[in-house]
């Protein structure tokens, strides 16, 4: 298929994407401060966390449950290095602390990656989950860094301002970071390194035969995933103004997995779509008497239904709709399975 041709399918895909992007750019004019902060900003940083998982799952074939632990390492490191209640007494410049936090998460990611990168599939999932829960217990036990009370009133860079009374700056920071992460991953997928990662995803033994160091590639990919997760961790601490072991517990780890699966585990855009659905649902159900207290049951049931009925998530459903409509509009028979340019950079599981 010609990449530049504007087929009805492409129009159906890019039209809504452009409209949504435009809405996000002018969102502070359209939505109340409460909605902007509690739903949109939250969805953006949750989306970045989910994007780190989807990057690993879709491009390298590594479904990791360690992303929340990594964002916790970034967040806790940063929170300990600036002025805050609890944690270590160090008070560095917030930007320096942010940088060190991100580096700490990348370092931890490379180390975890070195441990787990020789395991595949479900073993990899289990090892990353074990690492994630161990990280949670570590911050719960070690009172020098956190303890169960966590680190509160974390000092933020001046530009972040107060996320409750003045949420606009943090919203744009989260939006720009999301856009940068998205663009970075899409760019990376076309570089030789990104292509090698996709080769590892499809056939590790063949890549090894071609002379690639497969465990090293997987370890580096995990480090990159940690970098993306670290952005989410830093923004989440700015947004919450605090971090505690509860921010990285098993529930939160599963939340990020749920977001990725609801959005679509094999489409990068799905991260933010799923995160928005999650945050909006969370906000909406809080007001309902029946389910207000039982949000997790609602999320569990939705997750179960998505996994059982539509493994591609919301993006998968949308893809089917656009394919169907596109073929109708183009006057082609609707039966042919979709193929073409998009399939090469957004693989479906075989």
């Amino acid at each position: 298929m010609n990449r530049s041709a504007l087929t009805p399918e492409r129009a159906l895909w890019w039209g809504p994407a452009l409209v949504l992007t435009l809405i996000l750019v002018i969102a502070p004019l359209l939505f109340s401060d409460f909605y902007l902060s509690q739903v949109l900003t939250k969805a953006l940083w949750l989306g970045i966390a989910a994007a780190s998982l989807i990057f690993l799952a879709a491009y390298v074939g590594m479904v990791s449950l360690g992303q929340v632990a990594l964002y916790g390492i970034a967040g806790f490191t940063m929170a300990n290095l600036v002025e805050a209640d609890g944690g270590s007494p160090i008070a560095w410049n917030p930007w320096l602390a942010t940088l060190v936090g991100i580096l700490a998460a990348v370092g931890a990611g490379l180390f975890f990656g070195a441990i787990a990168s020789r395991s595949y599939g479900i073993y990899f999932l289990m090892i990353t989950l074990a690492i994630a829960v161990l990280t949670y217990y570590f911050f719960g036990q070690v009172t020098q860094f956190s303890g169960f009370g966590g680190v509160n009133s974390v000092e933020r860079p001046a530009i972040v301002s107060n996320p409750v009374t003045d949420p606009v700056n943090l919203f744009y920071i989260a939006l720009l970071t999301s856009a940068a992460v998205y663009a970075f991953v899409r760019y990376l997928a076309r570089t030789p390194f990104g292509l090698a990662l996709q080769g590892v995803r499809d056939d590790p033994s063949r890549m090894r035969a071609l002379g690639y160091n497969v465990p090293l590639l997987r370890m580096l990919a995990f480090g990159l995933g940690a970098l993306i997760a670290a952005f989410a961790g830093i923004i989440s601490v700015w947004w919450n103004t605090r971090i505690s072991p509860g921010s990285i517990d098993l529930t939160r780890t599963i939340d990020v997995l749920v977001i990725a699966v609801i959005g679509g585990l094999f489409r990068l855009e799905g991260a933010w779509v799923g995160a928005f659905a999650f945050a909006a649902l969370d906000n909406w159900t809080r007001g309902l008497d029946v389910v207000g207290q039982r949000f997790n049951t609602v999320i569990g049931v939705i997750f179960l239904v998505i996994v059982l009925l539509s493994p591609g998530g919301l993006m998968g459903i949308w893809q089917s709709i656009t394919d169907f409509l596109g073929r109708r509009l183009a006057g082609k028979p609707p039966a042919r399975p979709s193929a073409g340019a998009r399939a090469s950079d957004s693989p479906q599981p075989s």
Partner: protein, 356 residues
């Protein structure tokens, strides 16, 4: 690394060591140094206070017994069906709450104190045990029949399904049973503590009982897998599922039975752990982690691996809290992490793991 050693498996250990690439050799030396250092440190501390060593060692062994009961169910299910049951910890927790609820009903709420005098008769403990195990077994069976059976072979999807179920169970448990940690009362016919031979030390009887149950269970499972027809089918199913069904064996029935058994073992662990330690809403995360670590260390699907993994985890858990230098005992979780790293560095599939 495994490929490098596979070809030279018939050589003696000296030549096998020499055949390793330099990186792998350095790794092995590093692992040996760490293990040696730990051994020296433990011996030094044990020499300083032998009574403490005995008690902490027994704590570790009895914990290992509990961990083995829980993880054996997890590894059984995985070994046969390649299903990673992420709801295993949830089943453990549910059994504890079921048993607690039933015991409270049976005794009229008089017997909920774990330590000190117990008012529960033998039946007040046995009946909740049996009912909770069966109830959890049935929940596991329903889970397998309704959600997992028609997704056979899609291991990621099955793991996601069990995660979804664990979310629902955790939330509903919180709604129905509340969040207060309580313990089941052990039967009053059990002695509270026993005297250890060759010393004046006493030790809680129930913890010894858990260890004995775990050993008996391990022997029974081993005998079942090695000696019975069901065990033969299970072993054959682990190696080649399609061939087994081609031979006219109803593999679906075997799967259902194995899942029921695995879930029941989670339930047994939940009641034993609920009596030995406590019933708590955080149990699901905790025992999922324990099951994961035990089988990652021991190797998925291997019963002997589960025993070794449980032993290693139980001892590290118990000694780590006491033997770390004063002021650093809250770093004990790093020792478990270190154990995981050590094993995975040398054997990515676990000590007894085989490639699928």
């Amino acid at each position: 690394m495994s490929e490098a050693t596979a070809g030279v498996a018939d050589l003696d250990w000296r030549s096998r060591l020499a055949a390793l690439p330099p990186g792998a050799l350095a790794l092995r030396i590093a692992v040996a140094v760490v293990v040696g250092f730990v051994a020296v440190w433990v011996s030094y501390k044990a020499y300083g206070d032998p009574r403490q060593f005995v008690i902490v060692g027994l704590n570790g062994l009895t914990l290992a017994g509990l961990y083995f009961v829980v993880a054996s169910g997890f590894t059984l299910i995985f070994g046969l069906m390649r299903v990673v049951n992420m709801a295993h910890g949830s089943l453990y927790m549910l059994a504890g709450f079921f048993a607690l609820e039933l015991q409270t009903k049976l005794t009229g709420g008089e017997a909920t104190s774990a330590f000190g005098s117990s008012e529960a008769g033998l039946g007040d403990w046995i009946i909740p045990l049996v009912v909770a195990c069966l109830a959890v077994g049935v929940i596991g069976l329903v889970m397998q029949q309704v959600f997992l059976r028609w997704n056979q072979g899609q291991d990621l999807r099955q793991a996601l399904i069990t995660i979804a179920i664990s979310i629902i169970i955790a939330d509903q448990t919180l709604a129905h049973f509340g969040g207060i940690a309580e313990s089941l009362a052990a039967p009053d016919s059990f002695p509270e503590s026993v005297h250890l031979p060759f010393s004046d030390l006493t030790y809680p009887f129930f913890r010894i009982f858990v260890l004995l149950v775990a050993i008996a269970l391990g022997l029974c499972l081993w005998a079942m897998i090695q000696r019975t027809r069901f065990g033969m089918i299970v072993r054959a199913g682990v190696d080649d599922r399609q061939m087994v069904s081609a031979l006219g064996i109803n593999i679906q029935l075997v799967f259902a039975a194995a899942f029921f058994l695995g879930a029941t073992l989670a339930g047994l662990g939940g009641v034993l752990g609920g009596t030995m330690i406590s019933v708590d809403k955080a149990n699901d995360t905790q025992y999922l982690l324990i099951s994961l670590i035990v089988v990652i260390i021991g190797g998925m699907g291997s019963l002997a691996g589960a025993a070794i993994g449980a032993l290693a985890l139980g001892l590290v858990d118990s000694f780590g809290d006491v033997y770390l230098p004063a002021g650093y005992t809250n770093y004990s979780i790093l020792l478990i992490f270190g154990l995981l790293v050590l094993v995975l560095a040398v054997r990515p599939l676990g000590l007894f793991g085989r490639p699928a």
